[in-house]
């Protein structure tokens, strides 16, 4: 007897809905084991990680703050992944957007510029992210270079570019030599929504992005094209859809959303440009996209859940002296389970006898 995988005749609708939940449940079980191995009380740890942040209003607000960039970036990435296009450099596009938008904030700093500043920053941020994403896209369609590797390489370049700016030309002269720009003016800042919380208008923008993406994917020709290219590339080619245009389009959109998320993060919760503005949002967003089953509404829920792990991880670091890397481990394990459960939507596992001819039979 052994286990075998075989394709299902039809996708299992039941498992399609249950898969993310099963994945989360399995991750929690793994987390419990991990806590026990590290000598922490698993019940207390689970409470600190996943329950405590939900019980006070400030932490709830922080979840929204963290979920905002995750959701925005992940919605863009999901468009790529649905079409089997692999943009994994969203982290770099996030930083590129942050830098491009900050340029206006830095150059108008203290000049008493009007209310055009923030909209211009957001526009430039999205544009910066889109242009940065178009580099790997153009390398792919023009030269056939793997977008996976080029988009990832540009993450390191963006990190170093940001580092150069805040240590060199953009450094705040009154900033005690810290590598950061001066705090942005109020006209260059994304307004907060409530007193006593850092929740800002960007969260509303993220909700709008989710709704627009849902309409776009479900109700437009371009959205149909993206889904078709992903599901049946040959059929898409025969029906005359232009695959190259699709690569450029999905990269530009996902880059623009990542860039927008970047400038919103800088002009919102952070308030100035500095290294380390992203605790890996661009990479965590990949997990968000898959956990949300590449569906905009699913991504919204998944984004909130992964934001919870960030906040819970920070809480656990303070309350239980658990390293912050545990959050990354948990997120990585979660993605594994998500992918494994996704496989069961189209495959089923069967027990079979050893009926096949011996594996080493001479050809």
């Amino acid at each position: 007897m052994r286990l075998m995988l075989e394709p299902r005749a039809e996708r299992s609708a039941l498992i399609a809905v249950a898969a993310p939940l099963i994945a989360i449940a399995l991750s929690l079980v793994t987390a419990v084991i991990l806590f026990a191995v590290m000598g922490k009380n698993p019940i207390v740890a689970l409470d600190v990680y996943f329950v405590a942040p939900l019980t006070d209003p400030y932490s709830l607000g922080e979840i929204a703050v963290k979920a905002t960039p995750l959701v925005m970036v992940a919605v863009g990435l999901s468009l790529c992944y649905v079409a089997n296009i692999w943009n994994i450099g969203a982290e770099g596009q996030f930083l590129a957007g942050a830098v491009a938008g900050s340029w206006i904030a830095v150059s108008t700093n203290g000049s008493g510029a009007g209310h055009w500043v923030l909209p211009a920053m957001l526009l430039l941020g999205a544009l910066g992210g889109a242009l940065y994403a178009l580099i790997p896209a153009i390398c792919k369609v023009r030269f056939g270079a793997s977008e996976i590797l080029t988009s990832l390489m540009l993450v390191y370049v963006a990190n170093l570019g940001l580092d150069y700016l805040v240590r060199g030309p953009w450094r705040d002269p009154h900033g005690l030599n810290f590598p950061m720009t001066a705090d942005f003016d109020p006209v260059a800042t994304v307004p907060t929504l409530f007193d006593g919380s850092r929740v800002h208008a960007g969260s509303i923008a993220a909700l709008v992005v989710v709704m627009l993406a849902a309409v776009f994917l479900g109700r437009t020709i371009m959205g149909f094209e993206i889904r078709l290219v992903g599901a049946a590339p040959r059929a898409a080619r025969f029906s005359g859809f232009n695959a190259e245009r699709l690569v450029l389009f999905t990269f530009a959109i996902s880059g623009a959303l990542a860039g927008l998320a970047g400038i919103v993060e800088v002009a919102g919760p952070v308030g100035h440009l500095q290294p380390g503005i992203s605790p890996g949002y661009g990479f965590t967003a990949i997990i968000v996209a898959f956990l949300g089953r590449l569906n905009p509404v699913g991504i919204l829920i998944a984004g909130l859940f992964l934001a919870l792990t960030f906040i819970g991880g920070e809480g656990a670091q303070i309350a239980m002296k658990v390293p912050l890397d545990l959050t990354k481990v948990f997120q990585g394990i979660l993605l594994f389970y998500v992918l494994a459960c996704d496989s069961l939507i189209v495959h089923r596992i069967r027990f079979v006898g050893m009926t096949r001819k011996p594996a080493h039979a001479a050809p």
């Binding site: 692999w86 996976i148 590797l149 990832l152 390489m153 890397d325 496989s343």
Partner: protein, 306 residues
Amino acid sequence: MLLLEAVIVSVIAASTPLLLAASGELIVERAGVLNLGVEGMMIMGAACGFAGAYLTGSILIGALCGIAAGAAMSAIFATLTLGLAVNQVATGLALTILGVGLSGLIGAGFVGQKIVPAAHLYLPVLTDLPFVGRILFGQDAFVYMSIALIIAIRLFLFRTRLGLVLRAVGDNHASAYALGYPVLRIRLCAVLFGGACAGLGGAYLPLAYTPFFVSEMTAGRGWIALALVVFASWRPGRLFGGAYLFGAVTILQLHTQALGLDIPSQLMSSLPYLATVVVLVLISRTRGAAGSAAPACLGLVFVPDR
């Protein structure tokens, strides 16, 4: 002369982890599997390798720990992609995310600790030869091993029957399976071998390159190793040259700083990454008309019918 000698010695040191990791990935991809988790396996090899060496005081045990860690990570990858037919790109990414987190967790207790780095070979007379002595006869065991490994891989792929089978599995898994070859088992072996090599390449960093561990110390070397395999058109000889070329680019940044040129250090640090992009573009463009040299089934999922 002395400067040139020092440069060459440092280029060899910088190239070795790339060569080790890329050699393993070459075999993996020749078997038709794309494991994007090299970075995660390398950083786990670095963390576990350092932990092993620090706790036992033995570089050899450290290296073995690194190999085991890389292989264990690749076993997770194999379970998903081969056992459950999950998309290889997404699984490889997950492996990197997990590896970076897990290595931080394991390495947290060892940050700031130091070990005695791997010993360099010393042969009387030979090592003392001017110029070539230190370069040829004064390296550490990892360097010689990486070179032996790539030669062995070349012989294995093109001079042995099993190597032929491995390439067949990578080029046409359905036919290889119809001929009775155990496609998934061969791929499993290839993936585990690739993980072990990546783990060893990662372990080289804290055991020989810098005698300490810092989190995320692989700094994208795993991704550069992946690019190297493409650059080498999946051929061992070119892989060897490519690894040393990239090692040289990495070293270039250190020496321009020493020369006092007024170039932002961040621009120099980004050179290896920019070079990777440029090289990928050039390689892919020149190859465009002749068709890709990649194994035909690279990255494709294989589910055997019974």
